[in-house]
Amino acid sequence: MMCGHCGCGGPDHEHEHEDGTRHSHSHSHAHGHTHTPTTLVELQTRVLAKNDAIAARNRAWFAGREMLAINLVSSPGAGKTTLLERTIRDLHGQYDIGVLEGDQATSLDRDRVAATGAPVIQVNTGTGCHLEADQVARGLNELRPAPRSILLIENVGNLVCPAMFDLGERAKVVILSVTEGDDKPLKYPHMFRAAPLMLINKIDLLPHVDFDVARVTASARDVNPAIAAIGLSARTGEGMQQWYDWLRREWTVATEAAFA
């Protein structure tokens, strides 16, 4: 049996094997060469179907509560938690903000966020390099965020895996800090394709590093022409207002969409 579903079919064609080698073969038999008669079963099941179904449920849950949920993604140390701390303090009194912290281990980030007074829970993913929708669902059960609040989800620091997993958020926001180099959108296109907004953090350090903001913006738009970009410093506060303006627009849409 060939893999005729993907258009690469034909009896003589290349297959990728468990050992990573490619070779052609023209007839079918299990490699273990068993002689048990077998039946072919059509599955046509998306591997992420279960995650996506739970994500859809989360999304409906947010919509029902007129909430805005944002999934913050970046490589380790780009400044997600620092951005959260400052955002919560600056917007205090304007919005209810809750936080779901994802890390492989420790509650360090939860403690930092808790010090701002915002409700926060920590999800430890263990060996998992990303958050999955059911972890968020369980987190929501515990956090019980208020209607019309904003939920900021800090994903595990990783520019690769979190791109694949829908959590039910309204948008992914990718944070890139100027110390990471301006070639990242081209090296990690999936993440930049998945996010409508890129925050370029640590611009206070620009005088000390080789980082071309115009070039990084252009290369992010090569992989995602619609991506918006905001340069800011979560340390000095420069540029943060533009991020708050973006959040306000998204919040307005999320809270009004319930009646649309």
Binding site: M1, C3, H5, C6, G7, C8, H15, E16, H17, E18, D19, G20, A30, H31, G32, T34, T36, P37, T38, T39, L40, V41, E42, L43, Q44, T45, R46, V47, L48, A49, K50, N51, T127, G128, C129, H130, E132, V160, C161, A163, M164, F165, H190, R193
Partner: protein, 80 residues
């Protein structure tokens, strides 16, 4: 290494559909833009399938230019 999580899901999908029948072969479609590395899935598969109905099954991976990651077919032993 999200391929580890993906491979767990692949084995779960296959074993659920197979019931208690043995799986001899699984065909997977991996899109170019799916953000999954076929080699890593192949690497994880043998280990994760161990002790399940898919232990020892052959995994055929077909690359496509789409963005989906799908378990397309499987071969299972005929019902007794």
């Amino acid at each position: 290494m999200h391929e580890l999580a993906l491979t767990h899901e692949i084995v779960a999908i296959v074993c659920q559909a197979a019931g208690d029948r043995r799986v001899h072969r699984v065909t997977l479609e991996v899109g170019e833009r799916s953000c999954a590395t076929p080699e890593s899935i192949a690497f994880c598969f043998d280990v994760i399938a161990r002790g399940t109905c898919a232990e020892g099954a052959r995994l055929d991976i077909c690359r496509t230019d789409g963005d989906d990651l799908m378990v397309t077919t499987m071969e299972i032993e005929e019902a007794a």
